[in-house]
Symmetry: C2
Subunit: 196 residues, 2 copies
DNA sequence: TCCATTTCTTAACATAGGTCAATAACCAGC
DNA sequence: GCTGGTTATTGACCTATGTTAAGAAATGGA
């Protein structure tokens, strides 16, 4: 199972099998059932997850009991809780499994420790984090500037695969609209498409 | 002027003056006038800025000509354009100077190169990036779940200093509302406060 | 000091998207 | 195959925020 993670790393940086052997002893595999809660708001987590198979999510619940999805984490994505990792502080978010999932569990300082043995891991780490920031800036820009319809179209273009895997209300919750609104947006789109 | 940057690094990680000397030759200082454009949408940038003094911003302009502020970068903050840094791709965003600004200009691979000489730079880099992600997740959560008023209150609590330095329409643009709406929100808040 | 420009406020009106409620479609476990 | 619980759709109505427009206040350069 760890082989999948090795493949991922080797696709990203020049890493030999021996080098992977040197750093892989800190890694564990964990499996989650569909619907399993991984982390509650208020708990402290210092783990980093790399998804091998399945789908996790992080989300918040507001004062009215509504769920807002911060991130989907499908295969080959990373998921972690930064309050815990950086400051040993309580999480503002919940983590759970949308599908049955297998993930690599990395200790919070894994990347930095691994980089001491295999320096090129550094480039990977910094690229990944910068890329995550790039994605989030794009998302913030959409939330600031685009209509519900535009955000939905952007979503299905960016994550065609997720669009099929998750229930619509979760997509709505990721887009910052209600399920009812998303349903109407879809109806309008179907209509437009039909008229052409 | 670079001394300020050294101080910043030394506050964050154990870095001696000698070590700083070893890595600082790639650094330059640049000054921007108030209102000066730094990067246009469509241009490619591979620089990273660390703000010593003043205030920069990154923003987008939508199809209706409206401005949306992605990030404010005051003293001790970082600013860069990730499409350029990661992939040599064109920027989706504009960068400019809200105030007259002095900044350190770092080449895109500075942190990784510096880490080869001074390994602890790694921890700093990775903490900074993770912290940026943490902030952005919080912001996304606010955009998904909070009203205009709640977002404004959160903003002034988090950036009391910026609240005074930037015009209201920029705060509105950062919050994802119109200047008119922000004006109403402020009126309501003043009212509530008065009634107490 | 004055003028031009930018910023802020206010009001009347418009609208995207939210709310509530009912129903239909779907599905998972027995 | 039922059955209870999700999930999706639809409609009537509501509300927060956007739009437009005007004027007031603040600001900054000559």
């Amino acid at each position: 199972m760890l082989g999948l993670f090795k493949d991922y790393l080797q696709k990203k940086v020049a890493l030999t099998d021996e080098q992977f052997g040197l750093i892989s002893d800190k890694l564990k595999i964990r499996e989650f059932d569909k619907g399993e809660m991984i982390l509650m708001k208020g708990e402290v987590s210092s783990h980093v997850y790399f998804i091998l198979e399945g789908l996790l999510r992080s989300y918040s619940i507001d004062s009215k009991g509504k769920t807002h999805i911060i991130q989907f984490a499908p295969e080959q994505w990373w998921l972690s809780e930064r309050n815990g990792i950086l400051f040993n502080e309580e999480s503002e978010f919940f983590l759970d499994a949308i599908e049955a999932t297998k993930a690599v569990v990395l200790p919070k300082d894994f990347m930095n420790e691994a980089a001491k043995v295999v320096p090129c891991i550094n480039d990977l780490n910094s690229k990944m984090l910068n890329n995550a920031i790039r994605f989030m800036q794009k998302r913030i820009n959409m939330l600031l500037s685009a209509t519900a319809e535009e955000r939905y179209l952007d979503f299905i273009k960016l994550y065609p695969n997720l669009t099929l895997r998750v229930p619509q209300w979760m997509i709505a919750s990721y887009l910052g609209i209600t399920p009812e609104s998303l349903s109407r947006v879809r109806k309008d789109l179907a209509h437009k498409h039909f008229k052409k």
